[in-house]
């Protein structure tokens, strides 16, 4: 925590704003039960009520409180984002370290896979997978992870290749250091900041992708994610000709944009922090 506050002043104003927004969303997700008075999945009032005292953000077409939906939606967004980032970040880091460290045909094999997946248009593939495996949060996370790990793996691998050529690693190897020692002492600490950064970037991507899938109607219908609110809102026949969108659509839209931007700004700052040239200054990475 100390190091965190120490690094805080390396953040730009936008990065700090991003951190604040992000922590607000975290609080929303953690204390969602305390923050809401109405249920988020069943009707609690008249349909399509504009924002009022009882329903702060109004209600949707079947009378569900939008504030509750928004608060619980934060849970889903964060869950999807960080679970995907966690799974694919860990897996990608492992694959990247392994491929970069062992080299040879294993490396070439993984690189082929990674290169192949990089050029694939991810959304159509996700649509197909989601269509066949059915909607559901777990499936969405799995499908997103399936596509995300290559980014981390690619970054980690190229960095490992660079570190492997460094003389201090060669020196350690000549002196009899085993792979475990090298990974623990040299590779892992240097790669870790990169993994963090790429995980945050992946979280942002995953949140956007989940929203996109939900917007296409491929999200978990039992959950109420932001993308799904937007989906339902845009499907509502009269949405373009009434004022309903000023609350029904606007708030999930703002929440989603805010989350994505916050993650992006934080990530941008972390990238400069994790930059090897900057690393000496902050000693110990992110």
């Amino acid at each position: 925590m100390n190091r965190f506050t120490k690094n805080l002043h390396y953040f730009s104003p936008t990065g700090k704003a991003g951190l604040i927004i992000l922590s607000l969303f975290f609080l929303m997700a953690v204390f969602s039960a305390r923050l809401t008075t109405h249920p988020h999945d069943v009707s609690s009032g008249k349909a399509l009520m504009p924002p009022c005292f009882d329903h702060v953000l109004g209600t949707d077409d079947i009378g569900v409180d939008l504030w509750s939906q928004l608060v619980y939606g934060a849970r889903i967004s964060l869950l999807v984002g960080f679970l995907t980032a966690g799974i694919s970040g860990c897996f990608g880091a492992l694959v990247g370290m392994f491929a970069g460290y062992t080299g040879g045909w294993m490396d070439r094999f993984f690189m082929r896979i990674i290169d192949g997946m990089m050029v694939l248009p991810d959304l159509p593939v996700m649509i197909v997978l989601a269509a066949f495996f059915g909607p559901g949060l777990a499936q969405v996370i799995l499908v997103l992870s399936l596509f995300s790990w290559v980014f981390t793996a690619r970054i980690v691998r190229s960095r490992v290749l660079v570190i492997k050529q460094k003389e201090y690693v060669i020196y350690a190897r000549i002196s009899g250091a085993g792979p475990v020692y090298l990974m623990r002492k040299h590779l892992f600490p240097e790669v870790l900041p990169l993994v963090w950064v790429s995980m945050i970037r992946l979280a942002g991507k995953a949140i956007v992708a989940e929203a996109g899938l939900s917007f296409l109607g491929l999200g978990d219908p039992t959950s109420r994610s932001w993308g799904l609110i937007i989906y339902h809102a845009t499907r509502f026949p009269g949405i373009y000709y009434t004022r309903f969108w000023t609350w029904w659509l606007l708030y999930p839209f703002l929440a989603l944009s805010g989350m994505v931007l916050a993650l992006a700004f934080v990530c941008r700052d972390l990238e400069t922090l994790a930059d090897p040239r900057m690393n000496q200054k902050i000693s110990g990475g992110v």
């Binding site: 959304l123 197909v128 269509a131 219908p221």
Partner: protein, 327 residues
């Protein structure tokens, strides 16, 4: 040698995609048709036994796997993508009808974002750390992060729904039989403005940042100094020496991110109900028209892959150094 390696890589990738496409129906949890006949949203579409049999026959679900795999590949080579269950039409036809709109959107977005992004990015690089650069940089950083479909939604509600400047949906005003070519073109452009703008804007940010970085790294290069020493005009230094070198990393990046762009296009088409492949695939998903989903998926993927292959060929043409790396 290396070229051959890349080519085989692409062939393998395509084969893997084809295989995934083939095995997907087999990996579905449970029987897809049981699931189909369940109560699902608005559009319930239970297929007749006849249709189910057709689907099974097309994907060889009733045959031994190896044989059906081969016949599936053979069909694909003959350009047969199967029969749509819902529209009761050949998938190939549907795709061909929808494809131009998607290509139009994507190409338009690439064109706009590349031209504008290159211009603004180089401008920013040349006036680095001045007011213009700072303003542009902040603006672009903001827009490069918001996904295209959110921007699309924003445009839709502001410019189309509230202000009524642009049509809400579609690509063409229907029911207008006798119009001149110019009028039709105007109509098409009128419909395409918002979707292309939404797609371009997200991409513009990325292009801008990329070009800015590339140009910043090119400006201090020795050959730029040589060019200045030669007393060439600013324009010539910038275009012939700067941009010509920036072109290389730029093209690779344009093609590398094509997949993401297509993904964005799929979503944007849904936002604007633009009759491209993206709208089609989501409609197909809605009605569980599996052959159609798979057909569209295959076409999009293969197009993106071949575009990428083309970019590598292009790279060889653009960079004189690559050609000799092999000789």
């Amino acid at each position: 040698m290396k070229k051959l390696g890349r080519l085989t890589e692409y062939v393998i990738t395509v084969l893997i995609i084809l295989s995934i496409n083939f095995f997907l129906p087999r990996m579905m949890p449970g029987d897809p048709f049981l699931f189909l006949s369940g109560d699902q949203g608005e559009q319930i579409s239970a297929y007749s036994d006849e249709q189910i049999r057709q689907y099974k026959a097309c994907y060889g679900l009733d045959q031994p796997i190896f044989r059906s795999y081969l016949s599936y590949l053979a069909d694909l080579f003959r350009g047969r993508l199967g029969q749509s269950l819902y529209f009761n039409e050949s998938v190939g036809h549907i795709v061909l009808r929808r494809l131009p709109w998607t290509v139009f959107l994507v190409c338009g977005a690439i064109l706009f974002s590349t031209v504008l992004g290159t211009a603004l990015g180089s401008l920013s690089a040349f006036y680095r750390n001045r007011l213009l650069d700072n303003v542009l940089y902040g603006f672009m950083m903001f827009f490069s992060e918001i996904p295209a479909f959110l921007i699309g939604l924003f445009f839709l509600f502001v410019f189309a729904a509230s202000l009524g400047l642009f049509p809400l949906s579609g690509a063409l005003t229907s029911f207008s039989p006798d119009r001149s070519v110019v009028q039709v073109l105007k109509d098409i452009i009128h419909h395409a403005v918002l979707p292309v703008a939404a797609l371009s804007l997200t991409r513009l940010g990325g292009m801008y940042l990329l070009v800015r970085n590339i140009m910043i790294s090119i400006i201090p290069k020795a050959y730029m100094r040589t060019a200045r020493a030669k007393g060439l005009s600013r324009y010539r230094i910038f275009i012939r020496h700067g941009l010509r070198n920036a072109l290389l990393p730029l093209t690779t990046r344009i093609f590398m991110s094509l997949g993401t762009l297509v993904g964005g296009a799929v979503l944007v088409e849904n936002v604007f109900a633009y009759p491209g492949l993206g709208l089609m695939i989501s409609q197909a998903v809605m009605v569980h028209d599996y052959p159609l989903i798979q057909g569209i998926f295959l076409v999009i993927t293969l197009l993106v892959l071949s575009a990428n292959l083309m970019s590598e060929v292009l790279y060889r043409v653009l960079d004189p150094r690559v050609k000799d790396g092999e000789g």
